[in-house]
Symmetry: C2
Subunit: 481 residues, 2 copies
């Protein structure tokens, strides 16, 4: 049995890869009992230290900025849902869902993605249109590969537009936003592969695939980014009992990828899709989309790729997947598409929707590695001033000084020792890259003054004690970032 | 049996209240099976809509600002821990812990608070000192009272200082920070009740409580904020088999509360604690603390209250609990204390620690009610500009305009209809309180211009189309917030 290749990136990203797994869910040995408490986090989870958190928060802030630039609001849903809310949404991947123990009462499961809770939210609250982002953790009981950013508990950054709008307008904005986010996080050159679910199904029909095999053949096509055509063909013919001649016809289509307008023109010029109503409709929709993307100035990032299939059944329109072109170690880093039927599975009313997930854990893995390689200094706290005492018995003076700093809104720290040694204090300030230190000694107390040292130029000046925070703010504003 | 009165606020806040429950964990009826999916969130949980999220994010940002002002870093831990990590930490409240189903592999439970995961983190990572905040959700299978901000899934805002420092210095900073946070969130007047665990135990010893009854009597005392002395006495004597004369002696102590220095002087003047080494030590520690609090200028918020007991066993030094003085409907809204032994329960090394939790859900409940009462307008998105078309067939012009706005970092939206009606567009802009609209019509296209309307004064001007984002930024900067 092959190793499961599930990525804990985003539902939309990884569903594709999960879909085909036939292996049983991973069984683990029960830990041996002992009296000593095991000092570890559960398998597939990890703590994040202040350094990692600093990087993560910066990235999240940047992504939120993009979401807000496009007028998005945010919502929050519980970390667990009724089990039945998730049932029937993930196919055979349901085995990866974490269930809560039945302790009496409702049967619940940890959320597997943010899309299903979103659809449940929209239906339950009778929302007719919303443009929302949601950055939160989801849970999958899969085989983790920690070094590749594949965890059992991991973040998703989702954006979706639900509502009845005109063709391809919100879809185009989603694609622009993926571009803006990937540029924002500075993760390297990228490309967005794009296809249309309806076109793909039309192609299967044109090639002669029986309708009941569409999804199975779609899943096989979905593997073309990882496996050569021969293997995929083998799966189609040997595992999924497709006529070999039909498979060969499919190859002619799914090997096509090009700049959006070029491939569109090629398909029309060759007449490959002629006579199929769905194909004609999908191509016309894509033409509209490409026109909008032109206006948005992002076509250079788009690759119209007939081999893109995406695993999830619920897609009904365009589908897309972003990959880094500079490296291939992480797979797709963003993905999504249009799903017009999911909300209707919960509520009485269908609310069409389109959206995407950013595979943020993979991006963190890349960024953390880069930071490590470049030995980048990262400030974990935001302290601006460290208050130092030169001689003994000045704790109360220090407390009064930091207190005034805090009241003035200045981030300040001091040693928690009553009589700390001078080198130790300076060392703390230095290690935390605190830009300014205030020094107080007996002579400062006598003259009602404070010594102030800016660390970037090691210059020291004396300022008056009274109303000193005004002067400190002034000095802080002159320090280069 | 009385209804459990557990609050889902913070571990430190509510443990006290939970401690004494003797009732069994709430049993719920199994939901009847039906084919229709129930459209609800699990009991005790809820969705948060964009309006609620806006309030919550503002409050969290304000609290984070205080944490950062004091040099805190942040960490993240998994939402579930190995079950054994939580075992033996919560006494009889362990029955409120959510367990994950045994699906093969490790046995895990959802975190019950942030303090135990923090202690596990410090021990596991060999951290010797850290000043960290952690804002995250925790889980308790208790009877929810949604209208009072009591949920099964709720946020805690924790701050802790771990490390070997001098007596009462970090403890004093924690108290200042509680004051700063409660002032920051503008939740009304408050008071921090303060006591010392060692002093309380000394008092029990002085009164003649047998050592093996300290914790049980402590729990009884803990109820004095909710029940009259007679009831508490009854519990001591009838349930906990304490000598009535001993109980009466305890009353003399636990009825004492006053300004810190005043009560300290009273205890010394009356000689009530004389001859007990632990009491002498605790009083001396408190004297040091009160001196520091004086320097920090927060004594007016502190009430030295000998009846404050706090439920958790792990406290070893000062304990405190903040309440709103203007209203009593929510109970305590912040609480904490010193716990020098908890980290040592996980690692080889003891790392002393002090900290607090903010009962943020109760604060949200109050704030949301106030916002509702005052009918406060809250902007849920951050959109600055809405791009409107006057006549038909200008979708591509609109797309080009928003695209330029986004590139310039301006938050902009537009209608997703190809040919939206003018009133509908203006309505959207108005409902979302978007401060500026850009209007494009055929005449604007012809003259290479844009009409710009500022919504606060309804003034409209015409600007040049080329490089228009510079002018838009200029106009935006003049709009009053």
């Amino acid at each position: 049995m092959s190793e499961p290749v599930v990525d804990n990136v985003t539902n939309k990203v990884e569903k594709m890869e999960v879909k085909e797994k036939t292996s049983a869910p991973p069984k683990e040995k029960k830990e041996k009992k002992s009296n000593k408490v095991q000092l570890k986090t559960p398998k597939g989870t990890q703590d994040y230290n202040p350094r990692q958190m600093t990087i993560r928060e910066q990235v999240f802030d940047g992504i939120k900025q993009v979401f807000k630039r496009h007028g998005a609001v945010t919502i929050e849903t519980p970390v667990f849902e009724l089990k039945e809310t998730l049932t029937g949404k993930y196919g055979e991947d349901s085995k990866l869902i974490y269930d809560l123990q039945d302790q009496g009462g409702e049967i619940c499961s940890l959320r597997y993605d943010l899309t299903v809770p979103f659809a449940r939210y929209v239906a339950m609250n009778g929302v007719l249109n919303i443009k929302r982002y949601h950055i939160a953790r989801v849970y999958r009981r899969d085989n983790p590969i920690m070094t590749k950013g594949r965890f059992r508990e991991f973040y998703q950054c989702d954006f979706d537009i639900a509502g009845t709008y005109d063709l391809m307008v919100p879809d185009a904005e989603c694609l622009v936003m993926i571009c803006e986010i990937l540029e924002q996080v500075k993760v390297g050159d990228f490309q967005i592969k794009l296809n249309h679910r309806k076109l793909l199904d039309a192609i299967f029909a044109i090639c002669g695939v029986p309708a009941d095999k569409f999804r199975a053949i779609c899943s096989a096509v979905d593997k073309l980014d990882k496996s050569p055509w021969e293997e995929v063909r083998k799966e189609m013919v040997e595992v999924k009992a497709l006529d070999g001649a039909v498979a060969d016809k499919i190859e002619k289509f799914v090997s096509l990828k090009d700049e959006p307008i070029k491939l569109l023109q090629h398909l029309r010029a060759t007449g490959m899709c002629d006579g199929n109503k769905d194909a004609t409709e999908a191509l016309s929709q894509l033409e509209t989309l490409f026109g909008y993307l032109e206006c948005f100035g992002v076509t250079q990032h788009i690759l119209f790729d007939l081999s893109l299939a995406r695993g999830l059944d619920y897609y009904t329109g365009i589908i897309y997947e972003a990959v880094l072109t500079g490296q291939d170690r992480v797979g797709s880093i963003a993905a999504g598409g249009r799903y017009d039927g999911l909300v209707g599975m919960y509520g009485k009313k269908d609310v069409p929707a389109v959206g995407f997930s950013i595979g943020i854990e993979r991006i963190f893995t890349i960024l953390e590695d880069e930071y490590k390689k470049e030995n980048k200094k990262i400030r974990e706290n935001a302290t601006q001033v460290f208050v130092v005492q030169m001689e003994k018995d000045l704790i109360k003076e220090r407390l009064a000084i930091v207190s005034e700093l805090w009241k003035a809104g200045i981030n300040a720290e001091f040693s928690y020792k009553v009589n700390p040694k001078l080198p130790a204090q300076l060392n703390t300030a230095d290690e935390s890259n605190i830009p300014l230190i205030i020094i107080i000694g007996k002579s400062e107390v006598e003259t009602n003054s404070l010594s102030v040292k800016t660390m970037h130029d090691r210059k020291q000046v004396s300022i008056e004690r009274s109303n000193f925070t005004v002067k400190i703010k002034e000095i802080l504003s002159t320090i280069p970032k």
